[in-house]
Amino acid sequence: MKDDIKIAWRNLWRNKRRTIITSASIFFAVFFAVIMRSYQLGSYDRMILNFIESYSGYLQVQHVKYQDNPSVDYSFDYNDSLAVAISGVDKVVSVSPHIESFALASSGTQTKGVAVLAIDPEKESKFSNPENKLVKYRITKESINRLKQSASIPVAVSDNIEKILGRSYSSIARLELDLGFSVNDIKLYMPEILKSSEVSNGFLTNEDDGVLVSDRLASYLKATIGDTVILMGQGYHGVSAAGIFPVRGVIKLPSPEIDNKLIIMTIPTAQKFFDAEGKITSLSVNLTSKSHRIMSEAQKRINLILTDKNTVAKTWEELNPVLVQQIEGDSQTGIATLGMLYFIIFFGIFGTVLMMIAERTREFGVLIAIGMQKKRLKRIVTVEMILLGTQGLVAGLLASTPIILYFYYYPIVLKGDLGKMMEDYGWDALMPTAWFGPYFYWQAVIVSIMVILATIYPLRKIGKLKEIEALRS
């Protein structure tokens, strides 16, 4: 057997060009397949991470009936010791309690339905981080007038700014993006623009009894910092909930749907308002990774800690089945694309194999004529094919590794409209690669299949070979 391998190896390198080209085809296929798939999976990962880290949490502890009936009536008892206990579970990064419900916000004779989200300000900074979304700059008529009167701002620039009249910003970067300034413009004009449109803002302290109001809601209610907002609704077990809350800050949310109806308050304040002392509606848990193994392990451990049998820890997949379906569907499309890629490559390889057989028919004839068993010849040719495949595979995997590594730690930053939209949602406009995973090793499987299929032809040809005809070719 060892001899066969030696012979096979030598055969390959006798015809350097052919060997290199064929291996190169496989190398190329593997390289591209791995990179493409890595990017695709990396993007999903990033999207999912953004979603679960800023909104859903990897796991959530809820009342068993809460998912079907999201109301304060299905809240559960909570105290710090539960948070501490869960934080102590292996692989848990952070824990954040929430109360989510609805109420009516009142202004004048108008009442508007709003979503109430209660958070622990300190814990939430590691989670959805609303402090990040506080409005810092607003382009108002006054600010534009001030700029127009300023000597250092040319008319063209102030006219440009007028186009975004009325918008609020929580980040300088976004403002710069909307203004479409060049690097030079930024240096020249931004400091003044920022000064004239600055808005004072504040956040919630841990025991605060005030609220944060989303930007559009704040303008509807005509409420700014220092004003009060009135909320009414139904609390725990139908008790009337009513309260007056001072506005501590205004936040801007990317989705207009949410931006016109969100109120954020601290958990103690919400518990008082809904008459649900000591209760919350969900506890979000962030883990180190979203691999299924780690999630289900953590889920099991947390479920053991939960003494209240009416509560349960659910994974983000269980809580968002529709999103899971969407990702699956998209992923399948990606796999189909790769399939086509490999299909094309396969033809290239097949072509080479055909050529190789045609070229070596005489050689085979000679070998058989001088006594080599057909079986052995077949074995040698098979080994050649396997070596070819392995070479290309290994080379492809090796070459793609540094790229995956690099872009995993330093992902491509998305620019333009797509980047804008992602930033708007509070997501990173990044395109990272995925870490090595099953998809990586699948390439080996596919290449093996291709090699096997491509080997069938040579083996059959050898089987049918008639030495005399071969010698004559």
Binding site: M232, Q234, V239, S240
Partner: protein, 256 residues
């Protein structure tokens, strides 16, 4: 002789008339019965009631106490007297408008459509039920469906079928009206597919302020077994001297 004939004639006439009167009582239509029962409950010119409402759920229970003033069908003012968290709240109904005053936040709001389907104070009675825009008399056709005895009282059983254009979402209702006092002792509300959605019963019949009324009203929704709302009428005064200007937004804030 003449006197005897006249007397006989008078007697004959009396007997004839008498029996006609009797016949009339016996030929009250189903609609009439419902109308009478409705008037019994809603038709008093004015009233003041003190009630306790208990909301019962599989895992908890809650009671609310309140006073209710009403004038005809269009005006009502309710003051919550217990528990502590809800005390002082008032609700005002004027026609089809409903207002809510909450002293803890010093705020008066008009109930918007999105709140109409919500349970009043968390109960199984919706704000819509309380506004009671539909009429059991005018929005349905009525027919007798037999008789039944409830709590020792003989009742007519009447089937009420919603009229085509009526602004009601029920398909039909079954009502049990007691023969003696025309009290509605039981009502079953069905959807258009004939499924039972809700059952309302009246029990604990007592005499209050000279009237015979059921003092325990129970509402049971069929969908959630274990859920029900029970209202006890503790005290009731009829025909109190009250005028339309009593039912005002100002009064909501000061009523005790």
């Amino acid at each position: 002789m003449k006197r005897k004939i006249i007397l006989r004639l008078l007697l004959l006439v009396m007997i004839l008339f008498g029996s006609k009167l009797n016949l009339k009582a016996q030929t009250m239509s189903a609609t009439d019965i419902i109308r009478k029962a409705d008037e019994k409950f809603n038709g008093e010119k004015s009233s003041m009631m003190m009630m306790t409402m208990t909301i019962i759920r599989p895992t908890w229970q809650r009671s609310v106490e309140f006073k209710n003033w009403s004038l005809g069908k269009d005006y009502a003012l309710t003051l919550i007297t217990a528990p502590a968290k809800d005390v002082g709240q008032t609700f005002l109904k004027r026609g089809t408008e409903m207002w809510n005053w909450n002293p803890s936040i010093n705020r008066l709001i008009k109930l918007p459509p999105s709140m109409m389907s919500q349970g009043w104070m968390g109960s199984d009675y919706t704000n819509d039920d309380i506004l009671k825009e539909s009429s059991v008399v005018n929005d349905y056709t009525h027919e007798f469906n037999g008789e039944e005895t409830i709590a020792g009282r003989e009742c007519y059983r009447i089937k009420m079928t919603a009229k085509e254009d009526a602004a009601v979402i029920w398909g039909h209702q079954m009502r049990w009206v007691d023969k003696k006092d025309f009290l509605m002792l039981r009502a079953e509300l069905f959807d258009e597919d004939g499924a039972l959605v809700r059952t309302e019963t009246g029990a604990d019949i007592k005499t209050m302020d000279g009237r015979v009324i059921p003092t325990k009203l129970e509402l049971v929704p069929s969908e959630d077994p274990g859920n029900k709302t029970v209202v006890f009428i503790k005290e009731i005064k009829f025909n109190i001297p009250i005028k339309e200007n009593f039912f005002s937004q100002q009064n909501m804030k000061i009523i005790q």
